[in-house]
């Protein structure tokens, strides 16, 4: 009897809840009415991928960009963490139906979700980090209200390639074999761009250097990355550049175990293995979020492909380990200046293939 009573209470609460919610929705046509002051501030909503806000990767960087934009441009910003992939559409919709000015989706996994929601809310602007809208058939389809925020990975790869090749050429520390390696997750354009720039820099600085390349065929499994790493090290690799996300952490672990050097990717990974990671090839996701927020405020929002590159500080090399000599840093800074001026155009096609 007591149980029945309990369910009745639960049921009435839920029913009352539904009813209450409905009247609230009908009585206030604009859900943001209460939160909005006059004049209405620009609202930016960020939807993270499933990694959460403290992933030490894209989500965290994007949130940093959001907070900086809020502070510097006087915007009203919010963030929602996706807990599973099917949350993408409802989370993007949560912002869109509250008439946010810009909704930012972090990561290419949201390409289809962003396409769906952006089509439904043509008056809301959207941006996808590292991706473009993809329709239900799985094909890319640009939309007039969606900015695709891409990065010129080859430029970041080129910068760390300059550092690595300069060190290898001068036989700094443990880099004695002049053999430089890299490992991708799976052969998709953003991954290969990083490695193409890396190889381009090495070949430019020292054509006699040996270059090896491999794939872990995974972005998650550290063990697979480690196997490729151990294999590369057994072939005299001194510096290992990982372009494989979580799987690449295994590649770095192999370098640490065998006492050689590694290069991080996407975000600053110097803290992953101090003394092993000498620098990182970085995409400035925070910058992309910051700039897109500013673009919406200043009315310069551009749909379709937007590239973040050396020119607009969208790519960079990360913090340097003390082992990196001053001449390597100077060479990287010069390369950065040359890429900015257009004197160097890093390749996007791999010179050395597996």
């Amino acid at each position: 009897m007591k149980r029945v009573l309990a369910y009745l209470i639960l049921a009435t609460t839920v029913v009352a809840a539904c009813g209450g919610g409905n009247t609230a929705a009908t009585s206030s046509p604009s859900p943001t009415a209460s939160a909005t002051a006059t004049p209405k501030p620009i609202q930016v909503g960020l939807v993270t991928d499933v990694g959460g806000l403290n992933d030490k990767s894209f989500n965290q960087a994007a949130n940093t960009g959001r907070l900086n934009a809020e502070k510097d441009f006087g915007l009203k910003t919010s963030v929602i963490e996706s807990k599973k992939q099917e949350d993408y559409v409802p989370n993007l919709t949560t912002f869109a139906q509250q008439n946010y000015d810009l909704v930012i989706a972090v990561g290419f996994l949201m390409q289809n979700a962003a396409w769906k929601v952006a089509k439904q809310f043509p008056n809301v602007k959207f941006a996808i980090i590292d991706g473009a809208p993809a329709n239900d058939a799985g094909n890319t389809e640009n939309l007039p209200n969606v900015a695709n925020l891409f990065f010129k990975e080859q430029e970041a790869g080129y910068l760390v390639g300059v550092i690595a090749a300069t060190m290898a050429k001068n036989k700094v520390g443990k880099a004695i074999h002049n053999t430089l390696c890299s490992m991708g997750g799976i052969p998709i354009p953003p991954v290969d761009h990083y490695m193409a720039g890396y190889q381009d820099a090495i070949k430019t600085i020292d054509p006699s250097a040996t270059i090896l390349i491999g794939y872990s065929n995974d972005f998650v499994d550290q063990q697979k990355g480690k196997e490729v790493g151990l294999n590369h090290i057994s072939k005299n690799c001194d510096i290992l550049f990982q372009v494989a996300g979580g799987s690449g952490l295994g590649y770095i672990a192999a370098a640490k175990e065998k006492g050689v050097y590694a290069i991080g990717v996407d975000v600053d990974q110097i803290d992953v293995a101090p003394g092993t990671v000498i620098t990182s090839a970085m995409k400035r996701v925070d910058k992309a979020v910051y700039d897109s927020s500013n673009a919406v405020k200043s009315g310069s929002f551009k749909a379709g492909d937007n590239f973040f590159s050396a020119t607009n500080d969208g790519i960079a090399y990360g913090k340097l380990d003390p082992i990196v000599p001053a001449d390597a840093k100077a060479a990287a800074d010069k390369a950065l200046a040359d890429i900015k001026s257009g004197a160097i155009k890093p390749k996007t096609d791999l010179t050395v293939k597996p």
């Binding site: 209470i9 919610g21 859900p31 919709t93 390409q111 799976i186």
Partner: protein
């Protein structure tokens, strides 16, 4: 008791919100508005409720038979993979052929996968908790293989390894017109879920098999004395449990995603354990508990967007609910051992 544990968990959650420097009442209002504040939100809450209900039924069938099914997650995934594979392989078939095939594939694969754990328990005495946990890992890694570089991989620009889309005939229709609730994803799977709840009730309380399953659950030795072989009933119970979970996976494929992808795993199978416990393994209880968890899952996003309270708070509240229920079970168990009357309520 279930209501008390939810209220207790909400109270603890409120204290946490307060400590983190936010307004608990405002947070809960947003949590509530996020789940039921607009027709769209209600449909999204229901979409979450559907798989939670079905996976909850899966866990509950096993519970009623005295088994602890931790494998609803993998049974759900197996059902999804089977439904996705059949739906894509025979994509050109008309709906009246394709849909029953996909439905049977989803339920059948889940049931077969569940039956394995049941068989190992019945024939070899292997604890089903261990086997079902292990099965979860097996499925996750087999799915990696199938979808990343395996037989189900299909080229696409979705950014994640995924299978080819299922045929149009297998897609569950959206049951509310877009003009009424824009962008709603509420699909006909809700009717399948309601039917499954009815089947669950009818099977357990209106059929001889259900009686036997419950008898085994109440006391396997006593049931054996009465001529009910606990071993066959164990296999059957796990197969039925797997069937419910497989249906959940099949509905996620045909109703929400229309394909299988790497990372499909949603955690529903794990939340379902809490749903079944909170719902006291009864049909209505499971539906209400699933609705509550569905509302939490949906409402959490608005709470985070508006109140700035992390959506993870919802997970904390769910965990406290589970904790209180588990504590109650332990107290009951202990007092039953001492031959005393069980305590009525502790929260």
């Amino acid at each position: 008791m279930p209501v008390a544990s939810v209220l207790f968990a909400l109270a603890i959650g409120a204290i946490l919100v307060l400590v983190s420097g936010h307004d608990p009442i405002g947070a809960y209002i947003d949590l509530f508005r996020g789940a039921f504040g607009s027709p769209y939100d209600i449909t999204e809450t229901l979409i979450q409720t559907i798989p939670l209900t079905l996976a909850g039924l899966s866990v509950a069938v096993a519970f009623r038979t005295g088994l602890f099914n931790i494998g609803a997650e993998s049974q759900l995934l197996v059902g999804a993979v089977a439904a996705g594979a059949v739906g894509a392989r025979f994509a050109d078939l008309p709906g009246f052929l394709l849909f029953p095939m996909v439905l049977a594939a989803g339920i059948g694969a889940g049931a077969a996968w569940g039956a394995i754990a049941g068989y190992l328990k019945a024939a070899r005495g292997v604890n089903e908790v261990i086997t079902t946990i292990m099965q979860n890992y097996i499925v996750v890694f087999v799915m990696h293989w199938l979808l990343q570089n395996g037989p189900m991989t299909a080229p696409n620009a979705l950014g994640t390894p995924a299978s080819a889309p299922i045929g149009a005939g297998a897609v569950l229709p959206i049951i509310i017109p877009n003009e009424l609730v824009p962008l709603t994803r509420l699909h006909a799977g809700i009717f399948l879920a309601i039917a499954a709840v009815a089947v669950f009730w009818f099977l357990l309380w209106r059929t001889p098999l259900g009686y036997e399953l419950r008898a085994v659950g109440l006391g396997a030795r006593a049931a054996a004395q009465a001529g009910i072989d606990p071993r066959t009933r164990t296999v059957l119970a796990m197969a039925i449990a797997g069937g419910f979970a497989g249906l959940a996976g099949m509905i996620q494929v045909t109703g929400v995603f229309h394909r299988v992808f790497d990372g499909f795993s949603s955690g529903y199978g794990f939340d379902a354990i809490a749903v079944a416990l909170l719902g006291k393994n009864s049909p209505i209880g499971i539906v209400l508990a699933a609705l509550l968890f569905g509302a939490f899952a949906r409402g959490g996003s608005l709470m985070q967007a508006n109140a700035g309270v992390s959506a993870q708070l919802v997970s904390v509240i769910e965990a406290i609910v589970l904790f209180v229920i588990a504590a109650e079970l332990i107290v009951r168990l202990l007092s039953a051992r001492r031959g005393r009357k069980p305590v009525e309520a502790i929260a």
